[in-house]
Symmetry: none
Subunit: 115 residues, 2 copies
DNA sequence: GTCGAGTGCTTGACATCTTTAGCAATGCTT
DNA sequence: AAGCATTGCTAAAGATGTCAAGCACTCGAC
């Protein structure tokens, strides 16, 4: 559940502050179906759906396929760049960057671990 | 008909002199289903099936996906590289990643707007 | 000839994907 | 508080993938 496709997509959508119906209006994917995907009730959504989501969410399509557990054979798809990628933290506004950096500084200053 | 996925797969199988049931024994794909694929009665076989066929037939998997009309796309440069250049937000621990994503979700949920 | 094995193919049943209609809960506006 | 919009979510139905069983045909061995 932690690393599932559903929670992955859910985190991204929520991090962007978008509702299920907003994503539906942009992608044509019904909000109910999107909900089922995010709750891991759909094992294998079609590639067309995943492509549309990757475009709207501005995340790497092959990376999303990987998250979905689909077999992909990209000759040189390797880890060095991808491993540092945090899709949820992409495309930040300048205000958000500042807020996050401040928050990270705060986190590290108190040296606490997560709940 | 001529350039369809079905005729494409059928041509390869016949050129190798293999029966439907031989391919079934090697891939686990039922001969009846394979027959339907070759006769274009199946629009979108699963990636697992296509992968097995590409392995047995010794053809390129991405090439086969292309033949099947699946969307295949290389990673987009702007989503992969540009948005990641926030030096303070690199090399995060997993706890920090999660905390930041949660915090960002919180930030954006307060300013949620729809268009 | 006929018998058995092998061939491509069809049918019916089941599983999964995908949508439409609608629900309860929350929030906003007056 | 009342009323309306929006949220995530579910149930039922339709469309499609997938398989097991079985069909009709061919062909070689006896």
């Amino acid at each position: 559940m932690e690393n599932s496709l559903g929670s992955f997509l859910s985190r991204i959508r929520n991090s962007k502050g978008w509702s299920l119906r907003h994503v539906e209006s942009q992608t044509g994917i019904s909000n109910s179906y999107l909900c089922q995907i995010e709750n891991d009730q759909i094992r294998e959504p079609s590639l067309q759906k995943l492509l549309k989501l990757s475009e709207l969410y501005e995340i790497s399509y092959p990376e999303l396929l990987k998250q979905a557990g689909y077999p992909i054979r990209e000759p040189n798809a390797h880890t060095d760049v991808a491993s540092r990628s945090i899709p949820q933290l992409e495309n930040l506004s300048s205000e958000e960057q500042e807020a996050l950096v401040d928050y990270l500084t705060f986190l590290r200053s108190r040296g606490r671990r997560r709940r």
